[in-house]
């Protein structure tokens, strides 16, 4: 019932935002985060081709023994990845809310360059308020 982390990946596969909550996740260097995000982007693209029933979006949930990742792919190619414990039931709705916060605090911010790393206090504050 815990949220461990949030990643936001732009349409080119670059990590634009990363935040860990609590101490569920080990601390990685920013370079490692970038590599992981790029890899995830590639996996997501591959899985969208593997569907046996025609065209499909990429993987939504990737789960392991102790955690799972929910991936929300938006219409513009931005991916929101939420890392949570296995029993988190509301991950999809949380991701939708994160998307709304992104649309408000990032897209409407004149000082943000699209597809670049997010450095906006408003976004940080609202994400912390939402995800603790």
């Amino acid at each position: 019932m815990a949220i461990f982390g949030l990643w936001v990946i732009n349409k080119a596969g670059g990590l634009v935002y990363e935040r860990s909550f609590g101490d569920g996740l080990p601390h990685l260097t920013s370079n490692e985060y970038l590599v992981l995000a790029g890899t995830l982007h590639g996996i997501h693209a591959i899985t969208s081709r593997l569907s046996p029933t025609g065209s499909s979006s990429g993987a939504h949930v990737i789960s392991g023994e102790t955690f799972k990742m929910n991936i929300l792919l938006t219409a513009t190619g931005t991916k929101f990845v939420l890392l949570t414990s296995l029993v988190e039931p509301s991950a999809d709705s949380v991701l939708q809310k994160v998307y709304e916060i992104y649309a408000d605090a990032v897209m409407k911010n004149p000082f943000h360059t699209p597809e670049m790393p997010i450095r906006s206090e408003g976004f940080d504050t609202r994400i912390v308020a939402l995800l603790g």
């Binding site: 943000h112 450095r119 408003g122």
Partner: protein
């Protein structure tokens, strides 16, 4: 306003239709309606058959209308980016936003005065500064943002400074200024609106916006109004 000859834009409409147009939309009596098609029948007015002209719409039609805040946020964000490319320095950027707000303020004042006149029997025009400031704090803010501002303060150090405080200004709600520009306040736009309303009412002042965040309201903004000496002297003279 009678012209000896019809205004060149109205060359297709006769003089009689000018008065009938005034009849139909008293609000636009001082504005000309552009003919949308040259061979239009003038006696029934320009509305028949042609698309209604936006200038002929009754001004009270949109009195309680609301604008999508997301649409405005994107427009304002682009305004800031556009201005930022063409200035050098924070002060210049604030001054340009102030000018844009000024142009809106003059129209806000005129529209509010016009609507007041048709709404109440004896609309009052504010001639003293404090009632004018109160009316800006409530009526202008309500007309523009939908709710009155949060506080009015008078400065203790300077007799010519007054402040209007907004705890969460709607136009800058989604703007996060980067750390190296932390003194920039995009509420300079609002300051421009206030400056135009004050100028229109006869109280010239210099109006600027400053960020004054608190724990509870990180977006709290203060609109600082610095009155000109002539206004202060006039207020003093009127007091006696």
């Amino acid at each position: 306003m009678a012209y000896a000859q019809p205004h060149p834009r109205l060359s297709v409409l006769s003089n009689s239709s000018l008065s009938s147009a005034e009849h139909l939309s008293p609000a636009s009596s001082s504005r000309f309606s552009l003919p949308s098609a040259p061979s239009i029948n003038t006696t029934s007015g320009p509305k028949s058959g042609a698309r209604p002209n936006i200038y002929d719409r009754p001004l009270n039609k949109t009195r309680t209308a609301e604008v999508s805040s997301a649409a405005f946020a994107f427009l304002f964000s682009e305004i800031v980016q556009y201005t930022q490319k063409r200035v050098n320095g924070i002060n210049d950027l604030e001054r340009r936003l102030n000018t844009l707000g000024y142009r809106i303020g003059t129209r806000v004042l005129e529209l509010m005065a016009w609507r007041n006149e048709s709404a109440s029997k004896a609309p009052k025009r504010e001639t003293r500064f404090l009632p004018a400031l109160m009316s800006i704090h409530t009526h202008v803010w309500r007309a523009v943002f939908g709710k009155p501002a949060d506080a009015i303060e008078k400065s203790v150090e300077n007799a010519d400074e007054y402040m209007i405080i907004d705890n969460d200004p709607p136009i800058t709600r989604n703007i996060s200024v980067p750390r190296d520009m932390s003194s920039l306040s995009c509420s300079s736009f609002t300051a421009g609106i206030v400056e135009a309303v004050l100028d229109g009412l006869g109280f010239s002042a210099r109006v600027t916006a400053h960020n004054t965040p608190t724990e509870q309201y990180p977006n709290r903004t203060t609109i600082l109004i610095k009155l000109e000496k002539s206004v202060l002297e006039r207020e003093e003279a009127l007091k006696t």
